[in-house]
Amino acid sequence: MSSAPFVDRIDPFAKRSLKKKTKKSQGSSRYRNSQDVELLALPLLKDVPATEQEDLFIRKLRQCCVAFDFMDPLADLKGKEIKRATLNELVGYITVGRDVLTEPVYPEIIKMISSNLFRTLPPSDNPDYDPEEDDPTLEASWPHLQLVYEFFLRFLESVNFQPTIGKKVIDQKFVLQLLDLFDSEDPRERDFLKTVLHRIYGKFLGLRAFIRKQINNIFLRFVYETEHFNGVGELLEILGSIINGFALPLKSEHKQFLVKVLLPLHKVKSLSMYHAQLAYCVVQFLEKDATLTEPVVRGLLKFWPKTCSQKEVMFLGEIEEILDVIEPAQFIKIQEPLFKQIAKCVSSPHFQVAERALYYWNNEYIVTLIEENNQVIMPIMFPALYRMSKEHWNQSIVTFIYNVLKTFMEMNSKLFDELTASYKAERQKEKKREKERDELWKRLGELQLGAKRAK
């Protein structure tokens, strides 16, 4: 009888199985071949006559369809090296080769790419992976994947590439699988995917609407269902270049995209991962069509963060970028609700929020806009500023508030004096009311005591 170590079955936290769990290998590395296939070392392409090159090319491509297990660093080193060298050679071959992209080669290339890239992405090693805080889990088979991506890119960018032939093999199904890969945790992979998709979008007009629609689906799922997707930033970067190229007047489809997809993207908790790209997209939209300013600003105000101060600071930064490019006529439409929110930000006890909001007054263009409309804006900002000048705990904020009040005084002395006087009068009235209320309570208390004593 083997002396098995004692396992406490009552304690639910005790290890039930003492067998060490082997780590499940990543999909890209899962070694599926039932038989060991040794990769044959094929001759180099440059060493064969031109007539045989196409055949050899295809054979090498097929060779590269074999997957290798990178979870085990020692497995099959020879095969891995052959594949790596082959891929490297192929990259060079299509870069310098002339007329190497013949029609039969296209489907073989796509097959090779598909077999290497398209895989189920593994669940994250770290179940509580926080994209903002934690380091990503990198792709184990990157040595091969990198070359496959490189090859793909050179293929698409080649002067000999013909979209008419390409569109037969790069179809919607292919693009869909490509898009799924954007959820990879490995930023290098996403970077390649970004460039690849960008080229595909540029070259295949027939796929453009489909790509846009699928990206929208991904975003909507991200915002409303999962709040998980690693590739939002990269997709937004592609969209940025697309938005930049929109023809005027903007199609309603694009305007809907802005309001229904881009603005809600601001709601998500992990906004900081892609805020730069998102803000860029929004500002590009406004540069294309200034009449979109009102819906954008109102949308941002609707989604204004109420509990996350870091996000508030981000929103304030984005609003400043929007104000940098705003037209005066559009500014007038949104000034009231916007400055009401800014007044709230200035009153925030979080010093960074207050600081960022007050810093708007260091922006010459914004100050010009405020000056032109000071009759509307000063009365909105004044009470918050005046109150905070007496109450805020942070000295540097108090200095900023002084700066803003001084600027206001220089803009419109009369209005400033009127607001000061009316604010003081309001305070007096309030104090009086409070005092009266106190008196009333005191009297009631005395009455009650009197009544009690009478009994």
Binding site: I238, G245, A247, L405, M409
Partner: protein, 478 residues
């Protein structure tokens, strides 16, 4: 009856009347004629002049005594001296538009309406109508007010700034714009720390007097400004026996004067020395304003006006007007008494205007303008300078009313925290941008467009996959 001589400006006030005779105080107000003060004893109905003498305008109490003794003497002796009657025609351009319709004011009419007693102890003191007590229920004693007036008059010249600043920057001199900028800084500090108006006006007065005396470099202006405020706060604290609420360090840090608390203390001492200041003794326009308000309010009561003019509640508005005036260099060089008088009368005009909107203003009210001329004479303000001051004040006030932006803007310091400075704008963090893809653009190797009749060829292979829903979001102007 009387030969009309050349019309001249004058004011006539009855001091007292007894037995049909009135002591009349007549002031000739001609440009340059500061001493045309006559005291006359004239009969109320026959206009005969019994006694006429020229007296010194500053010698107020003696005027009353002189007149009274002359009157008594005349009555006792029963003599009637004859003196040529003078045709009295008033043409007073100095005081505003709301004059009574008749320019020619007959003397008896004045005699009945405008009575101003100088000596409250006189038994024959009479007042037309019931006076309206001011809101505190205490009436100012006119004699005391006049005493105070004389005191101020004597000290006025000592505290009068005479700024001669260039408009544009030349050879490193302080410009008018810089002076106004400093005044605005002081005003902002006053609002910021909720300081009383006395402190602000005192500080600006110190500043202007210091600049009158010393030639300073523009780079020192911020330090001088804060130092003046510092001195003013100290003075006020001393006069009111209260501790000062604002420290030097706070003043320095908030005003961003780029100097230390030590610099400000040193500069304050320099200013105090140079201006040879005695504690709280500077006479500013504010002192004048308060005194004149009480004088005029008291006169208004004497005239028996049913509505209080220049009640203590008007003081706030007067001070506001003064603050507006002194923040502009245009009004600085005026005599503080003139400026105060101009402001007081501006306020009176406004109050009378308001009154006229609700009910007709009695004629007595316009006696206030005569009273103004009396004050003007008493203080020896010549017309030209008074008019200039008034015009300057009106210009400054008009510019304030237009809600114009100040021509100079202070360069303020914005010191951001590290964290905020790192990411100011989200797109600062963008590291790469992909090349633009033009919509409706054909890639290099695209198939040539098929020729269609009468339709756009763009996006011929694209299908829009967004459902064209009839329901569009509210803001998409489509």
């Amino acid at each position: 009856m009387c030969s009309c001589v050349q019309p001249q400006l004058y004011v006539v006030l009855t001091i007292e009347s007894k037995g049909g005779w009135a002591i009349v105080f007549q002031q000739d107000i001609e440009p340059g004629n500061l001493f045309g003060t006559h005291i006359l004893i004239r009969h109320l109905t026959t206009h005969q002049i019994l006694y006429q003498d020229r007296i010194h305008p500053l010698n107020l109490t003696s005027r009353g005594q002189l007149g009274r003794s002359a009157l008594n003497q005349a009555l006792l002796s029963g003599t009637r001296a004859s003196a040529p009657g003078r045709c009295i025609r008033r043409e007073d351009e100095t005081w505003g538009d709301r004059r009574r319709p008749t320019q020619h004011l007959a003397f008896p009419a004045i005699a009945h309406r405008c009575r101003f007693t100088l000596n409250s102890h006189s038994p024959t003191m009479s007042r037309a109508g019931a006076g309206h007590p001011d809101e505190t229920g205490v009436r100012d004693d006119p004699t005391m007010l006049y005493v105070a007036l004389n005191d101020l008059l004597q000290m006025e010249a000592k505290f009068r700034p005479r700024l001669a600043l260039p408009k544009d920057e030349q050879s490193g001199e302080v410009t008018i714009g810089a002076r106004d900028g400093a005044a605005h800084v002081l005003k902002c500090l006053k609002v910021w720390y909720d300081l009383p108006a006395d402190v602000l006006i005192s500080a600006i007065s110190l500043f202007d007097r210091f600049l009158t005396k010393m030639k300073v470099r523009p780079c020192h202006i911020p330090c001088i400004t804060v130092s003046c405020m510092n001195i003013a706060i100290d003075e006020y604290a001393e006069v009111n026996k209260q501790a000062r609420k604002v420290s030097v360090e706070e003043l320095v840090s908030v005003s961003q004067s780029a100097c230390t608390a030590g610099d400000v203390s040193r500069m304050s001492r320099v200013i105090t020395d140079k201006l040879a200041l005695l504690h709280g003794s500077a006479v500013t326009a504010l002192h004048w304003l308060r005194l004149l308000r009480r004088l005029v309010a008291s006169a208004a009561q004497e005239f028996g006006l049913t509505r209080p003019i220049l009640a203590p509640s008007s003081e706030e508005n007067l001070i506001k007007l003064l603050e507006i005036a002194i923040c502009d260099a245009g009004c600085v060089n005026a005599r503080t008494s003139e400026l105060a008088l101009v402001i007081v009368y501006h306020q009176i005009e406004q109050e009378l205007l308001e009154w006229s909107r609700e009910s007709p203003v009695p004629d007595e009210a316009y006696c206030l303008y005569e009273f103004a001329a009396h004050l003007q004479a008493h203080c020896n303000m010549n017309d030209a300078s008074l008019l200039t001051t008034r015009n300057r004040f009106r210009t400054v006030l008009a510019s304030y009313e237009t809600r114009a932006a100040a021509p100079q803007r202070q360069r303020l310091v914005w010191r951001l925290s590290e964290r905020t400075f790192k990411v100011l704008r989200p797109t600062d963090r963008l590291t790469s941008l992909l090349p633009t893809i033009e919509e409706q653009n054909f890639a290099v190797d695209a198939t040539p467009t098929r020729k269609r009749s009468g339709s756009e060829s763009s996006e011929s292979e694209e299908t829009s996959d967004w459902p064209r829903s009839p329901v569009l979001p509210v803001y998409c102007g489509n």
